[in-house]
Amino acid sequence: MTAEGQRRRAFWQILLFAAGLLVLTVISAGSVYLVNKAREDSKWVVHTIEAENQINALLLEIRRAESTARGYLLTQRSDFKADHDKAIAAIVPALDRLTRLIGDNPQQRKSIEKLSSVIETRLGQFAQEMDFIRQGQPEKAAGLVRELASADTTAAIAEVATGMLQEEERLFRLRTANSDRSQTLAASMTGIGSGLVVVLALISIWLVRRSTRERDAAEARLRDANLNLEAVVDERTADLREANDEIQRFAYIVSHDLRSPLVNIMGFTSELEELGGDIFRRIGSLAHAPADGAPLAPAAPGEIALEGADKQLHEDFSEALGFIKSSIAKMDRLISAILNLTREGRREFQPVKVDTRELIEAIVTTLAHQAAEAQAEIHVEPLPDLVSDRLALEQIFSNLIDNAIKYLKPGVPGEIRIRGRTKLGYAIFEVSDNGRGIDPKDHQRIFDLFRRAGTQDKPGQGIGLAHVRALVRRLGGTMSVSSELNTGSTFTITLPIAWNVSNRNRDR
C-alpha cells in the first residue's frame, strides 16, 4: 500500500465528513429560517383576516347607527336613541383600530383616509338628524334622511369598504400562497438534506469497508512477505555457512598439502648444505696439498680454510642456501598460521559466564614482563561481565594488549587503558594506548591476513588482528579502530552480553 493511496483516502474521508457537517448545518439554518418565515407568513395571514373582520365590524356599526336612527325617527322611542348612541360611540374606536391594523399598507391608508372623511360626514348627518328630532321637528329629520339617501353617503362608505375588503382579500390570497410556499420549502429542504446525509453516510461506510479490505489484504501480504523473508534469510545464512565451511576445509587441505613439498625442500636443502660443506672442505684440502702430491690430514670438520676465488664461491653458496632456508622458514610460519586459524575456525565455542576483569587481569599478569621492558603501565577499569566463549575472549584481549605493548613509541613511557561499558544488550570494550598509532589509510589493511602497517621493526606475521576480528565476528560482535600516527590507537570491540550457540551455530 502506498503512502499516496493512504493520503488520498484520508483526504476523501475528511472531505466526506466535512460535506456531511456542511449539509447538516445548511439544513439546520435553512429550517430555522424557513420555519421563521412560515410563522411570519402565517402572522400576516392572521393579520389580514383581522383587518377584514375590523372592516366588517365598522360597517356593521355604521349600519346599526343608521337603522337605529331610522327607528328613532319613526317611533321616537328612547331605547332606539340609546342603541344609536352606543353604535355611534363604537364607530370611532373601530375606525381607530382599523387605522392601526392596516397602517402598514399605503394603499389601504389612502382608502382609510377617504373612509374616515366619509364616515365623519355621515356622523355629522346623524348628529343633525338627532338634533332635529330632539327639537321636535321629525319632518325636517325625515327630509334630511331622504336628502341624504339621494346624496348616497352610505353608498360611498360601502364602496370604499368593499374596495378595502377586496384589497385585504387579495393580500390574504397572496400571503396564504407565501406561507404555503415557505412550508413546502422547509419540508423539501429537510427531505433533501436528510437524503444527502444518508448518501454521505453510505459513501463513508463504503469507503471504510474498502479501506478495511485493503488493510486486511496488505496485512496478509506483509505476513507472506515476512515468512518469505525469513525463508530467504535462512537460505542465505545456510549458503554462507556452507561457503565458510568450504573455505575452512580448503584452507586446511591446502596448508596441509603445501607442507609436504616444504618438508622435501627443507630436507634436501639441509642435505645440500652438508654436501656443500663436504665439497668445500675437499676443495680446501686439495688446494693446500703440497706439490709432491702427498695428501695432508683432512681438515677438521667445521673449519674450512679457503682462499681467493674458492672462498668467494663458498660465500656465494652459503648466501644462496641462507636465503632459501629463511624463505622456507617464513613459508612454514605462514602455513602454520593458516593451519592454526582454520583450526580455531573449526573449534566449537562454549558460552560460559566470564568475569571479564579477572580474565583481563590474568592476561596483564602474563604480559607483565613485556610491559615492564617497554616501561608500560596497564590500567584495567571496571568492565561488564559477559556470557561468551572464554578462550576466544582470552585470545582477543591478549592479542590486543600484546599489540599495544609491542607498538609503543620508543623512549616514551607507555600507558595502556582497558575500558568497558554496556549499551542495548552489547558490551563495548576499548583498548587504548599512547603508542606509535596507525596511519588512517592503513586502518582497513591491518585487519587483513598477513598484512602489517608502519615500520616493520617488530617480529610478527600479520595474523593477530585478522584472527581477533574473525573471533569477534564469530562471537556476534564487531570491532573497529580509531588512530592517528604518533598519538596512539584505540581498538573498540562490541560483543553481545549474552552470546549463545544458537544465534550463530544454529545449522552446524
Binding site: 596441509h256 598439502d257 607442507r259 609436504s260 613439498p261 616444504l262 618438508v263 622435501n264 627443507m266 630436507g267 634436501f268 636443502t269 639441509s270 642435505e271 612454514d332 602455513i335 602454520s336
Partner: protein, 146 residues
C-alpha cells in the same frame, strides 16, 4: 635386529621416502627397506594377488605408513593390516604430516603401534627419524604368521 626384518615403507612423496631412508640408514639400521608410493602397490605386496596376506607368511615385517596417499587413505591400509590374521602382529608406525587429534586417536584405536607427526623443520625431522631408527634397531618383531 635379531631376525632379518624387512621395513615396508608406504610413502607417496618420493622425496620424503628418500629422506626417511637416509636418516634411518644414518642411525645404523641396515635392514632391507621396500618402499611403495601408492596404497594399491603396497596392498598388493602385503596381501598378495589373492588378498589373503598368505604371501607374507613367516616374514618379519615393520610397516612405516603415511596417511595421505593419492589413491587411498593410510587408515584403510592400517585397518586391513590389523584385521589380517597374518599381518596383525606386525608393528605399524604411522609417520604423517597430520597432527589432528581425532586422526591420531582413530589410528591408535585401529591398532597402530606408534604415531609420529613429521616435523617440518628438517633438523627435527632428521632427529625424529634417526631416533626412530634407533628404536628399530632394538625392537623385537614377530614373524607374520604363527
Amino acid at each position: 635386529m635379531t631376525q632379518p626384518v624387512t621395513i615396508i615403507m608406504v610413502e607417496d612423496d618420493e622425496g620424503h621416502a628418500r629422506l626417511i631412508e637416509r636418516n634411518i640408514r644414518r642411525s645404523g639400521v641396515n635392514n632391507e627397506i621396500v618402499s611403495f608410493t601408492t596404497g594399491t602397490d603396497a596392498m598388493r605386496h602385503l596381501f598378495g594377488a589373492d588378498g589373503s596376506g598368505l604371501v607374507q607368511k613367516g616374514n618379519a615385517l615393520l610397516i612405516l605408513l603415511d596417511l595421505n596417499l593419492p589413491d587411498m587413505t593410510g587408515i584403510d591400509i592400517l585397518k586391513q593390516i590389523k584385521e589380517n590374521k597374518y599381518l596383525k602382529a606386525s608393528p605399524v608406525v604411522v609417520l604423517t604430516t597430520t597432527d589432528d587429534s581425532q586422526e591420531i586417536k582413530r589410528c591408535y584405536e585401529l591398532g597402530c603401534n606408534v604415531y609420529i607427526t613429521k616435523p617440518v623443520n628438517y633438523e627435527n625431522f632428521a632427529n625424529a627419524i634417526r631416533q626412530l631408527g634407533l628404536f628399530f634397531s632394538v625392537i623385537q618383531v614377530p614373524p607374520a604368521a604363527t
